[in-house]
Symmetry: C2
Subunit: 332 residues, 2 copies
Amino acid sequence: MANIRDVAKKAGVSVATVSRVVNKNGYVKKSTLEKVNKAISELNYSPNAIAVSLNNKKTKTLGLILPDITNPFFPELAKAVEEVANQNGYTMILCNSNGLLEKEMEHIEMLERKYADGIILASDSYTEERLKGTDLPMVLLDRGVNPNHSSITANNFSGAVMATKHLLKQGCKKIAHIAGPKNVLTAVDRLKGYQSVVRDSNWYDGDLIIHANYNTKEAITATKKLLEMDSSIDGIFASNDLIAIGCLKAIRSIGWKVPDDIAVIGFDGISLTDLIIPQLSTIKQPVYEMGEAATKLLINEIEVGKKESLFKEFDVTLIHRESTDKRGEINE
Amino acid sequence: MANIRDVAKKAGVSVATVSRVVNKNGYVKKSTLEKVNKAISELNYSPNAIAVSLNNKKTKTLGLILPDITNPFFPELAKAVEEVANQNGYTMILCNSNGLLEKEMEHIEMLERKYADGIILASDSYTEERLKGTDLPMVLLDRGVNPNHSSITANNFSGAVMATKHLLKQGCKKIAHIAGPKNVLTAVDRLKGYQSVVRDSNWYDGDLIIHANYNTKEAITATKKLLEMDSSIDGIFASNDLIAIGCLKAIRSIGWKVPDDIAVIGFDGISLTDLIIPQLSTIKQPVYEMGEAATKLLINEIEVGKKESLFKEFDVTLIHRESTDKRGEINE
DNA sequence: TTGAAAGCGTTACCAG
DNA sequence: CTGGTAACGCTTTCAA
């Protein structure tokens, strides 16, 4: 690949001049501009990004750290981040942390060493303590709120309230909650939302809450346990869609019918919920918009600087489908 | 962040010496080694990757270009690539091409400018013609075979044969095929596999083949069309799982039963197939292993150089589930 | 065993 | 309007 000196030589000018025309800054006489452009296209020159980076300490690279790209919630997020990044001339490095704090830290250090310009962190295990070494611009996504960093979340609490009230409205008399992990912020907020609605009901009981990780397998076990314990449960609010699908499988395996015997609603709104039978009611997060907002926010912090931490919370929406349609309200 | 000069000053040696101890090459007296190491840890020094790259023209960065991270087949691939890359000290840039040749080319150029060390390309539209500008090491994944580049694929043809024979064995008398796009290599091979099995059957007819893109929505339309045209169809081999799920939805919407009225089998083995009801039979590709193999192959080409193009084809396996279980062979 | 200095490809400042 | 050159942080000869 040709470099800037080759171009300079070919055009009969100095490298400084070439640099000026490439970056369109400074004055260049029209005739030399043309000479240089000619040389550039003849040599098919394009500036070496590494050398540029070494100078200005900017790499036009963003890091996206996710717990697990394999969880259907995240690919759409990744897509949004990648697209917005690209539109702004940035490139995205994808890092999987498997939810491990240690891996997260490794990735952050690596991104620093590679001079990434900023990081979008979707973390389970985020604690301010561990992050304070970094001074890279960083925005927290979906799973963490903290005064030192801007963050984007969905309104998990109010979504949980919506889900629980929806179940009530459909006629459920006793609603259980399969909560996510205790240390995951979204899970905690959703649990609180559920509790705020049912706390004062006469049937309410702490045993109606059971914890499981955000996956289908554990949810199956949890659901069976729940229904064995109390067969009068007729509604489940699952902390996310993967858990809800586990519920569906467990319920089916013991021969109950959804939604007649028991209604189920999830959270997230992954596309999967539309593909399964019965179709799963859920609280939909505007995932793409969230990824988009996070990326724009980050790029803004990088390019114009950060004044204050912004904390943006997105509204969620109820999607009413078969799995909670006890009253035949849906007409397909 | 501290740089090599800071360390040198602190240790009272030259930068050359620091470089030697960091890279463990050249002779260093034990006592100075210790001094230097001390300074390094006190300053928490780690070499600036950009500067290193500028020297050796290696960035320890791989590009992964995918049609669409949102298609459930790809996240697992991405995960494999990321993990293996990380294990070898590489970082992965993720690029979404949306299946557009133009976008692919843009990404490739960007990766060249950023001095990526190599590319893994999963492409629909791959044609050698367009790629010949690049001399970056590149391995083709899943959707392209070409003498100039190593490639990793699954055995699509024999998988299709397995699927079709499986349907026959389950008692299907007339099997249709919803094929993928005509310009996608995997789709073409699967179509050929199907044809090789049924071509000589007395019921065979070209109308039993219908094309659709690799998504659920189009598959619904296609399936309805197929069954309206010929209601004696009692088996469908779908070119991928997303299509198969579309079949299931369409079949359900017209009131038929799976697998009794009609059996359905997909291809890919995405985890989704295990979560839906009825569970979907499918031909499973070893996705993770494929991603792993591609990455190892690429890293090998980068680090030890490439002698010849390797062409590795992975075996696929039949997963027999409810959607084709006409004879009650599955005991859960 | 160690240090000085050139070079990697740019940009940006300072002169002219 | 243009050119020379220091600087970015590191590696790698070449000498000592």
